[in-house]
Amino acid sequence: MVVLKTTNITKSFGKFTALDGVNIEVKEGEIYGFIGPNGAGKSTTIRILLGMLKATEGSAEMFGMDVWDDAVEIHKRIAYVPGDVNLWPNLSGGEVIDLFMKMNGRVNKARKEALIKKFDFDPTKKCRTYSKGNRQKVALIAAFAQEADLYILDEPTSGLDPLMENVFQECVLEAKKLGKSVLLSSHILSEVEKLCDRVGIIRGGKMIETGTLSEMRHLTRTNFTVKTKEPITDLNKMKGIYNLEEKNAELSFQVDTEEIDAIIRYISGFGIVKLESAPPTLEDLFMRHYEGTASDSGSQGEL
């Protein structure tokens, strides 16, 4: 079953077109990663889904209801965590958590207390004294304490330390185990890679790639590191080879998926001593898209 579906949503701010025909589909029980460079339109998309902005064109539905017309009804079943949590400076963290849960009408005290412990959070301080990470915890605790059917998370961990990041990931996976769905926008690609079943990449207001990670990997290159008895000659003349580098008598390079067979055959002629291959990381995929699809210099990074 599809819990969230947008059809060609377009959003213009005056003359500027922030979104241009965005299609997203999140199925029940799925964690959907929503990634893209700064200013790509992720938060704008999410604000449309929340019924705060009205799409200039196109339509979006959650649980079969229109996101603009039935916003209040829909929100009873979702939980949202923004990247920048803005709280009322004079209220305490504990008060705000209670308020947030009450607003959605799903109060679960035991879960809330458990999460406060888990996130190691002090709810008695005034919100103005909280750090960015602590403000984020307020929203995360309120979100996961209620059993929503769909979690919409917009860079929910941009202020968390690695320990809390782990707690967050546990929470997401636990929700998934309960059959809940998640829309996760994040710049932390290791997080997306670890959690998400499917990924959509947006850039300049357009969706440029959607699919499971393995589907996406298929379209791209694999990283290789080889050591041979005899030096390999003319490798750079082969088709589908990128980023050839030599380090400590080892060669590393990337190969287009469809050329792997030919390349391996070729280098085996030089007597392989060591051969390592690694699937492209999400970051590799992502970098290629960032720099333009036609670019040859697809760089790589380590996660």
């Binding site: 929340l50 019924g51 705060m52 902005l53 009205k54 916003a71 209040v72 009804e73 929100h75 009873k76 949202y80 923004p82 920048d84 803005n86 709280l87 009322w88 400076p89 004079n90 209220l91 305490s92 963290g93 504990g94 008060e95 705000v96 209670d98 308020l99 947030f100 009450k102 607003m103 959605n104 009408g105 709810p123 008695t124 301080k125 005034k126 919100c127 103005r128 004294t129 919409i152």
Partner: protein, 533 residues
């Protein structure tokens, strides 16, 4: 280098605020010049000035406008009449401008994290504060010079050059004084609301202390800066000493704010925040409860201020009565003329002014929603199962309650003190009727604020222009002789002035209908527009 980067920050702040500064300056200067030009015509002969002097001698007038001049002064220069009627209220307007300006470019910018960003660049610790204070100094200097030169060069009869310059200088130095006071509060408190509210409290306190002092004990008046500033004898004795005194005090306070700024950490104040509760109580968990909680400090502060103000005026009413008994012939004259006592006539003017002040916290309550949106806090409602009508509705409803509360306090204050001090006191019913009769007009203003929040969120401050306009009409329409249609633009102008006039239910109903229509449009627009955050 504590001050590195001050120069470019000054330009930056000027660019940010230029629109507001220009509007304020233009408004203040034009109203001053226009009023001044009208005076010689209005008070021509010696008789009119004698009558004026007589009116101004009564305690109610003194409480409201400050101490007047001697009769010879009134006769020798019409500037004194102008100064007595205009100076104190113009000083208050200038003070408000400075409180808002300084509050905005110190604590509010810090709260929004803008100063943090700027300090991360290579600028000195005190650069932002000094830049914003330079802006304030220049603004007030411009005000002083333009007003002074304008009055002096316009060649109005009775406005000599030196006195005009002093008049302008008093305005400028008052602005600087209240700007500095606000700068100190920006260091002491932790929120921009705290900063502006504390500064307004000082302003109101200064006004009240002066009012009480002026009618009872001169020494008390010297506790309040408004007390000294209204005693310069401008256009008569031209006492520059009091101007200098104020200037020195302002500079000392300014230096204090720099000192406090230098020794504190960014983002905190000297008055530390208290520890919070672990759970939200059930009332806070309702939208109304939350709205009330967020506006609580503001409303309570205004309530105390309004009540104190009406108590003081109540006290004055007692004196007023005694004063008119003394000059019996005048009482007979007034009663014959209109059929109402001077007290009753005075109360209608007072109620018009008080209701305009009462509407301020109510309008703030509605505009708070826009403020919340600017701070990306309405997202907290709208990403959850809370409708826009619910949130706006609760702000709107609270604003109406605030109006009723403020007017009740005004009436209660006047009635209770008047009761104990006057022989022929106004009845409870009349006092409350004269206050509540303004509620429909106030409701229209709240609806206007709602309409702006709903349909033109970037222009919400226009409602303040309207409030100021209404104030000008109430206060100055007699002096400036506005055409009828201009007066009629102010809803307050249509309210029957109880007890001097009879109740007019037709007007009440029309005002109510206007309010409802405007409100409905506002709500519909709010439900349709994009929410920024």
């Amino acid at each position: 280098m504590l001050f590195k980067g001050t120069h470019s920050l000054t330009k930056f702040i000027f660019r940010q605020r230029r629109f507001k500064i220009i509007i304020w300056l233009l408004g203040l200067i034009l109203v001053t010049l226009a009023a001044a030009s009208a005076y010689p015509e209005m008070y021509k002969g010696d008789e009119t000035r004698q009558a004026y002097a007589l009116t101004m001698e009564n305690p109610a007038m003194i409480a409201m406008l400050g101490v007047g001049y001697d009769l010879e002064d009134y006769l020798s220069s019409v500037g004194t009449l102008f100064a007595h009627e205009m100076l104190l209220f113009t000083i208050i307007a200038v003070a408000i401008m400075n409180i808002l300006l300084v509050g905005r470019s110190t604590r509010a910018d810090e709260e929004d994290g803008r100063i943090e960003m700027i300090r991360a660049l290579s600028v000195g610790r005190l650069a932002y504060t000094s830049a914003s204070m330079i802006v304030v100094v220049i603004t007030n200097l411009l005000l002083a010079l333009l007003t002074g030169l304008g009055l002096g060069l316009l060649g109005i009869e009775g406005f000599d050059f030196e006195s005009s310059l002093l008049y302008g200088s008093i305005l400028g130095v008052s602005g600087l004084l209240f700007g500095s006071i606000t700068a100190v509060f920006a260091q002491l408190t932790e929120t921009s609301r705290g900063t502006t509210m504390s500064s307004f409290a000082i302003l109101i306190g200064a006004y009240l202390i002066r009012a009480i002092g002026d009618v009872s004990n001169e020494m008390l008046s010297y506790v309040s800066p408004l007390g000294w500033l209204s005693r310069t004898g401008v256009f008569a004795d031209n006492n520059w000493g009091l101007f200098l005194l104020t200037l020195i005090v302002a500079i000392v306070i300014l230096l204090l704010s720099f000192y406090l700024n230098a020794i504190r950490d960014l983002g905190v104040g000297f008055i530390a925040a208290r520890k919070g509760k672990r759970h939200a109580n059930p009332f806070l968990q309702t939208t109304f409860g939350l709205t009330l909680r967020l506006g609580r400090t503001n409303i309570v502060t205004w309530a105390i201020g309004m009540f104190a103000m009406s108590l003081s005026f109540g006290a004055v009413l007692g004196d007023l009565e005694a004063y008119f008994i003394e000059i019996e012939f005048m009482q007979a004259f007034i009663e014959e003329e209109s059929g109402y006592t001077m007290t009753e006539q005075f109360i209608t003017l007072l109620m018009a002014i008080m209701s305009l002040i009462s509407v301020i916290p109510a309008v703030m309550t509605v505009l708070k929603l826009k403020g919340e949106e600017n701070k990306f806090r309405t997202e907290n409602y709208y990403s959850r199962a809370v409708s826009r009508t619910n949130v706006l509705g609760n702000h709107y409803f609270l604003a109406i309650l605030v109006c009723v509360l403020m007017q009740s306090l005004v009436a209660l204050g006047l009635w209770s003190v008047g009761q104990s001090m006057m022989d022929d006191a106004l009845s409870f019913g009349t006092t409350f009727a004269s206050a509540f009769v303004y509620l429909p007009a106030m409701w229209v203003v709240i609806s206007l604020a709602t309409l702006l929040v709903g349909s033109l969120p970037k222009l919400t401050s226009f409602v303040w222009l309207y409030v100021v306009y209404c104030f000008i009409v109430v206060y100055l329409s007699g002096i400036l002789d506005f055409p009828e249609w201009l007066n009629n633009l102010s809803v307050f102008e249509h309210v029957p002035q109880i007890p001097a006039e009879d109740m007019n239910f037709m007007v009440m109903i029309v005002l109510g209908i206007v309010a409802i229509v405007v409100t409905v449009i506002g709500f519909m627009a709010y439900n349709r527009r994009d929410i920024a955050g």
